[in-house]
């Protein structure tokens, strides 16, 4: 077997291989498309963040002083729509996934490079239509578009916003399709299924949900639009429809969609935990298959959103039971990550700080999900701030932290520059503190009876709301710091070597940034995932073993 020779860094890479706007807008390189997505989702994250600021500022006081009620309705709706559909769902798959799926399996690109580019254009079109709807007058239905309000009573731009989401869905489907075909057909020689990094398993599972679930939300939005425009009697009881049917159809997609958001994050965490512990992950196949289990069982629990929506008690019991069952694969992951840390030589670099934060916050988010899945408890907690806290613990404490961890971890590979480690650790800490200060009080608020989506509230809730707004400000600062130093590092950061973390994964066995074809030669994989050379075989330089494993 050939020994591994670190490629000589050549000056030509995917970034400087071609110049000019056209070379970006017409690129078929998955790495460049990943950067296009990175720019666009950051833009939407920023807009969504502005709405979040408006919400938190309004909630500082018990009265409605900053925003009128109708405006407030639009602000939280638009915050939710932008964050869910235009940031969280594409965030990890379309950026880091796009960049890394081919690199981690030793391929030159995704299976359908043109379709990959098309998915970005569709995403942008959907985004523009949605932004148009927001500028034209906005939408006030909540991100869940519940009928009959959305079909009959709302005076806002429901159809236009729905159209934007409808279009955007196709970009999701195309990304999923591309990943599945790529993972099936383009693995490098020797890259067997059980040598795949867990990031790949997670993206495979996510892609299944994207393909199987997204068409349903598309149809649902279409029916909603027909109903609103032509009153055809799907959801409107006055003409033979049923408003609860909308909730069934909506959550058939949107519960699995919460796993579209968190599964790729789990994939990143598996990478970070194994690599920064310099150990194979504990129970590789359990972690891999738990991703698939989540993808499948995630489709069986949507009724836990309908417990108080006149759903039958028997269906409620079935959905409650299944919701408890779906927590098992997530718990498997948490236990296996923790077990991996046991007796490991852990290094606390920025990505690892985010990963450790993820484990704690995701656990809280998941456990409170179980509270909500218990029928009687949910009667008390439904539609309160407890729910808001629950899903932010998973979507922000989970997905966003994983995304930031992954972005730092692969930043040297993507840009060829190191980020400043000190600033990185500092801002990770600020994010963690700010996050908890924002959302822990919301659990208590919800338990005490503070409903979600109201901006006027009893005076006794104010202390907790002020704490939450203070936390949100800290969180905001914690997110702005990386924005600045990451941009700074693109120019002034230390030049990154091909393998700055000294890791065995394929993406590290090529120069940083990679050449357009990713590898100078087709890699042949002869090692298992996360196979670190035993300490006695390597010299220890600094805190890392200096060599990547060379196995015959």
């Amino acid at each position: 077997m050939e020994t591994f020779v670190p490629p000589v860094p050549s000056r030509i890479n995917y970034i400087n291989a071609q110049y000019g706007l056209k070379s970006w807008l017409l690129t078929k390189d998955h790495k460049r498309i990943a950067l296009l997505y990175l720019g666009s989702i950051s833009f939407f994250f920023f807009i969504g963040g502005l709405y979040a600021m408006a919400i938190r500022l309004e909630l500082l006081t018990p009265q409605a002083d900053l925003l009128q009620s109708t405006t407030y309705n639009k602000v939280f709706t638009q915050h939710g729509i932008i964050m869910v559909f235009f940031f969280l769902i594409p965030s990890i798959p379309a950026t880091l996934g796009n960049f890394l799926v081919p690199m981690m399996i030793g391929a030159k690109d995704l299976a359908f490079p043109r379709i990959n580019l098309l998915s970005w254009y569709i995403y942008m079109l959907g985004g523009i239509v949605t932004i148009y709807a927001l500028l034209a007058g906005g939408v006030d239905t909540g991100w869940t578009f519940y009928t009959p309000f959305s079909t009959t009573f709302s005076n806002s731009y429901v159809v236009a916003t729905g159209l934007g989401i409808f279009i955007n869905g196709f970009s999701s489907i195309l990304t999923g399709l591309n990943f599945i075909v790529t993972i099936h057909t383009m693995r490098a020689p020797g890259m067997t299924w059980f040598r795949l990094p867990l990031f790949i398993w997670a993206h495979y599972a996510t892609s299944l949900i994207m393909i199987l679930g997204t068409p349903v939300i598309a149809i649902t939005i279409l029916l909603l639009a027909f109903e609103r425009v032509a009153h055809i009697g799907i959801f409107d009881p006055a003409v033979g429809g049923d408003p609860v049917l909308f909730q069934h159809l909506f959550w058939f997609y949107s519960h699995p969609a919460v796993y579209i958001m968190v599964l790729p994050g789990m994939g990143i965490i598996s990478e970070l935990i194994a690599n920064f512990s310099r150990k194979n992950i504990f129970g590789y196949s359990f972690v891999a298959f738990s991703s698939l289990a989540i993808a499948v069982f995630g489709f069986l629990v949507w009724g836990h959103h309908l417990f108080v929506a006149s759903q039958s008690v028997y269906a409620g019991m079935i959905f409650s039971f299944l919701s408890f069952a779906v927590a098992i694969p997530s718990a498997i992951k948490v236990f296996n990550w923790t077990a991996t840390l046991y007796k490991a030589s852990i290094s606390y670099d920025t990505p690892m700080l985010y990963a450790l934060g993820f484990i704690g916050l995701f656990t809280i988010g998941g456990m409170t999900g179980l509270f909500l899945a218990a029928l009687a408890v949910d009667v008390h907690l439904s539609d309160t701030y407890f729910v808001v806290a629950h899903f932010h613990y998973i979507m922000v404490g989970g997905t966003l932290l994983a995304y930031l961890g992954g972005l730092h971890y692969w930043w040297p590979k993507i840009t060829g520059r190191m980020y400043p480690e000190g600033w990185g650790r500092f801002s990770a800490l600020v994010v963690f503190i700010g996050f908890n200060l924002t959302f822990l009080p919301q659990f208590i608020l919800g338990y005490m009876g503070m409903p979600r989506r109201y901006h006027v509230y009893p005076a006794e809730f104010q202390v907790l709301h002020v704490l939450s707004t203070a936390g949100a400000s800290i969180l905001g600062v914690g997110l702005l710091i990386p924005l600045f130093y990451l941009m700074w590092s693109m120019r002034y950061g230390k030049v990154a070597p091909g393998n700055p973390w000294h890791l065995p994964g394929l993406e590290w066995r090529t120069q940083s940034p990679p050449p357009t074809e990713n590898f100078d030669y087709t890699p042949v994989v002869t090692w298992e995932a996360y196979e670190f050379a035993p300490p006695e075989e390597t010299e220890v330089v600094g805190k890392f073993h200096d060599k990547v494993p060379e196995k015959a």
Partner: protein, 95 residues
């Protein structure tokens, strides 16, 4: 990928069959059948038409086994959607 060339005649006859199906749907809509039969008749016609589209216009009939597996899993997933939704509707009166 072996390309199967479908004669135009097949497309035309499927199209005509779909048109007949549409006509029957409209006719059936003006009949009031007893009980649940209205829905059953409408759904049966719709399923037959959809099957024709999938088999011929979408070429599944001439496609590889893998495609059949994918069609089957899509139908299975739709089955989940229906089954669990009806676990609500059919048991509403029980309590």
């Amino acid at each position: 990928m072996s390309e199967h060339i479908v004669p135009v005649k097949v497309y035309v006859s499927i199209f005509l069959a779909l048109m007949v199906g549409t006509a029957v749907t409209v006719l059936a809509a003006f009949q009031d059948f007893p009980g649940a039969l209205n829905v059953i008749v409408a759904m049966t016609i719709a399923v037959v038409k959809a099957t024709l589209v999938v088999l011929y216009f979408m070429h599944v009939r001439y496609s590889a086994r893998l495609i059949w597996v994918i069609v089957a899993s899509a139908l299975f997933w739709m089955g989940i959607l229906f089954a669990l939704t009806f676990s609500d509707y059919w048991t509403r009166g029980w309590l």
